[in-house]
């Protein structure tokens, strides 16, 4: 138990934790949206995120990104990456819904069947990214897929520099960008769900699908919309991940998805603001735990926190419900 280190550099660890948690929160939104409307854990959502990271890498390679470009170019590449990741992730999420979930829903399949299908889809996506694509096109695009199941590095878009220093605590420019953009994306989503006509449809279906249908809400379209929205958020998370960590791997999604789901449950699944809170909370817990013990134990601590929260507060910190987000 290394309390000296934790309290000696408490501010620094908090900043690290928040910037880590922001990415969890963005991925968690995808779980929360789908769960809020369909009561379904989209297990394959983590792979939607991984597809996004590969799309970012692909777009950057295609447009010829070199290490450490100037500020103007960096912003351009951020936008290119965002568009590529959002299209790829949103498209993947939509394809999953059309191909797998919709036929099951028509048949009123029990929840377990949905979950197992999602696990199967997740396996297929991981293998396509990790095995099939490298074999098929790895020779043509070696920087994109490399060898099988290998970690693929990305060019550095923004060099890490301390932006603000308060006492011992240094906030790097990358951390600030990750945190602020994640907050912006979430604020935009929150506005969309709570203030727009489409958002009202989503909330109506979440509250009561039959009544919503009677009031003229097109359920099918709402369901497609939430999958796309969740996918776009995962795409944004993929971009931020690429900026912050600069690598990707086909098997990246498993642990990250589990963490993001934990974050969604922590905050109250189905609750958008809960996902933010849960993500930041989980990020902090992990960084503190890694400081107190070693980083080898952070995953264990994250799962133990999940189990404990579910035991004492099964509806999460803020309570679950997308329908009642703003009645």
């Amino acid at each position: 138990m290394n309390f000296d280190e934790l309290f000696g550099h408490f501010g620094q660890h908090t900043v690290d934790g928040l910037s880590k948690g922001a990415i969890y929160a963005l991925i968690a939104l995808g779980y929360t949206l789908v769960y809020g409307v369909l009561r379904l854990i989209n297990f394959a959502h983590s792979e939607v995120f991984v597809v996004g990271t590969f799309a970012v890498l692909g777009a950057w390679t295609a447009f010829g990104l070199q290490d450490n470009p100037g500020a103007g170019q960096a912003i351009l590449f951020l936008l290119i990456g965002l568009v590529a990741a959002a299209v790829a992730s949103g498209g993947t999420a939509l394809a999953l819904e059309r191909i797998a979930y919709k036929p099951l829903r028509k048949r009123n399949a029990p929840p377990l069947v949905f979950l197992i299908t999602a696990i199967g889809l997740s396996l297929v996506l991981v293998e396509i990214l990790g095995l099939l694509l490298p074999r098929l096109v790895g020779g043509v695009f070696p920087t994109l897929f490399g060898r099988e199941r290998q970690i693929v590095g990305m060019p550095t878009l923004i060099e890490q520099k301390a932006l603000i220093t308060i006492g011992d605590t240094a906030i790097t420019n990358v951390q600030a960008i990750v945190f602020v953009s994640a907050l912006l994306m979430m604020a935009a989503l929150d506005w969309f769900i709570n203030r727009t006509r489409y958002g009202r449809g989503v909330r109506a279906v979440a509250q009561n699908p039959e009544t919503a249908a009677l009031m003229g809400v097109n359920q099918d379209r709402v369901i497609m919309l939430i999958f796309v929205l969740g996918g776009v958020m995962a795409g944004a998370a993929a971009l931020l991940w690429s900026v912050r960590f600069g690598f990707t791997q086909s098997s990246l999604g498993f642990v990250l998805g589990l963490k993001a789901f934990t974050a969604a449950v922590l905050g109250g699944i189905g609750n958008l603001r809960g996902a933010l809170l849960g993500g930041l909370f989980l990020g902090l817990v992990e960084v503190y735990a890694a400081t107190l013990y070693t980083s080898a134990w952070e995953d264990v601590v994250a799962f133990v926190v999940l189990i404990v929260v579910l035991m004492f507060r099964p509806t999460g910190l803020l309570g679950e419900s997308l329908g009642r987000a703003r009645a």
């Binding site: 929840p111 197992i116 889809l121 396996l123 099918d220 449950v265 080898a296 579910l310 035991m311």
Partner: protein, 382 residues
């Protein structure tokens, strides 16, 4: 195109049911002979030399693995599938962390039975024992079962009150926790270096062992298949008991079951504990035969493979899950060229089976009817 698929499907189902009906209609002594012949065939399998069937052997191809060794793996997977079937198929609880119990079973024989384990070394120092001393293999069996059963209860007690889909994620986390703990607690488990010299029925592995040696794997298979048959018998009895009926009732409708006086939590915990014990037993056998384990053998993908065996085979039906287990363990060994693509094939198979045939390849009839009923109740609007 879909209609065509459905029509073929209906014909196939009718044919399958025909076989099952005919089997059920046979007089008991004929069924007994049939079962006895099948069991005899199972014991004969490692010697398989019937002309025309030898191509089944995995050593009939270049670089194929020992046939008895593959059979042993199949038997272990069948045992896993039977245990997981109690949890997933009968009680309807999705357990994605079954590998955790498998690992606990494996580590109990490794930690207490191997002279190389830090736990045994500590015991030797504390109690002044000889350096060759370790807990006997036969004592490790109840130990493995007890430890995995206890861990099942400890995990199930807080989590079984949760909704089904939360349970899936929590168990997935549990499986990961076990693996990470085994990797990190170097002082107890040797960490990533693993533990070697895990004993078998004749003690620590050595060239002097007469029956359970390193070269000839047939006795290992016969041991495993004996355990499998015993457990099939035990679980079959359980299925047709009050406990088994309660599980089915909970799976079909927990609220209705509660109204009828079935204590949902109690029976779910039973299912979880029994499933965990069977998982521990199979992990125990796996570790004894392998003689060496390390944490990387117990990763989450294997856990998902276990679920795939049960689901693709036909959850709820023991014949189905055993078939699924043999299929998923055997095919990559015999058809080496597909073994690279096996994960993508499993994933694809899971999706296709769930979308076209959610009851599995050889389903439990009750389960198939349940799913048909649900489909009829489906809302038209969505």
């Amino acid at each position: 195109m879909m209609d065509k698929v459905r029509a073929t499907e209906a014909r196939r189902r009718a044919a399958l049911n025909g076989i099952a009906d005919r089997w059920a209609a046979l007089p008991p002594w004929q069924r007994l002979i049939g079962v006895a012949a099948f069991i005899a065939f199972l014991y004969y399998l490692p010697l398989l030399g019937i002309p025309g069937l030898t191509w089944l052997r995995t050593d009939s191809i270049d670089g194929g693995n020992s046939w008895a060794g593959v059979l042993f793996t199949c038997a272990i997977y069948v045992l896993v599938a039977i245990g997981l079937n109690v949890v997933v198929g009968l009680a309807g609880l999705l357990d994605l962390g079954y590998i955790g119990f498998f690992a606990i079973g494996a580590y109990s024989v490794a930690l207490f039975g191997s002279t190389n384990s830090p736990v045994v070394k500590w015991m030797q120092r504390t109690f002044d024992l000889e350096p060759t001393w370790a807990v006997a293999w036969a004592i490790c069996i109840p130990l493995a079962i007890a430890l995995s059963l206890t861990s099942g209860v400890i995990l199930g007690w807080p989590t079984l009150r949760l909704r089904g889909d939360y349970l899936a994620i929590v168990t997935l986390g549990f499986g990961e926790i076990i693996r990470i703990v085994a990797r990190n607690l170097t002082g107890v488990t040797n960490g990533a270096a693993g533990i070697s010299a895990i004993p078998g029925p004749e003690g620590a592995p050595s060239a002097d062992n007469k029956i359970f040696g390193l070269q000839d794997l047939k006795p290992w298979y016969w041991l495993a298949i004996t355990v499998v048959l015993l457990m099939v018998f035990a679980v079959r009895r359980l299925e047709n008991s009050r406990v088994g009926r309660s599980w089915l009732a909970i799976r079909e409708d927990e609220d209705a079951a509660a109204v009828m006086g079935v204590n949902g939590f109690k029976f779910k915990l039973w299912a979880f504990a029994i499933g965990a014990a069977l998982g521990g037993l199979s992990g125990f056998l796996f570790a004894s035969r392998n003689a060496f384990i390390d944490p990387s053998q117990f990763n989450a993908t294997l856990s998902i493979l276990f679920v795939a065996m049960v689901v693709v085979g036909g959850s709820g039906n023991m014949v189905g899950v055993a078939f699924g287990a043999v299929l998923l363990a055997y095919l990559p060994e015999r058809f080496r060229f597909v073994s690279d693509y096996r994960w993508v094939a499993f994933g694809f198979a899971m999706v296709v089976v769930m979308v076209l045939r959610p009851q599995g390849l050889i389903p439990s009839r009750r389960r198939a009817r349940e799913l048909q009923d649900r489909a009829k109740e489906a809302k038209v609007s969505v």
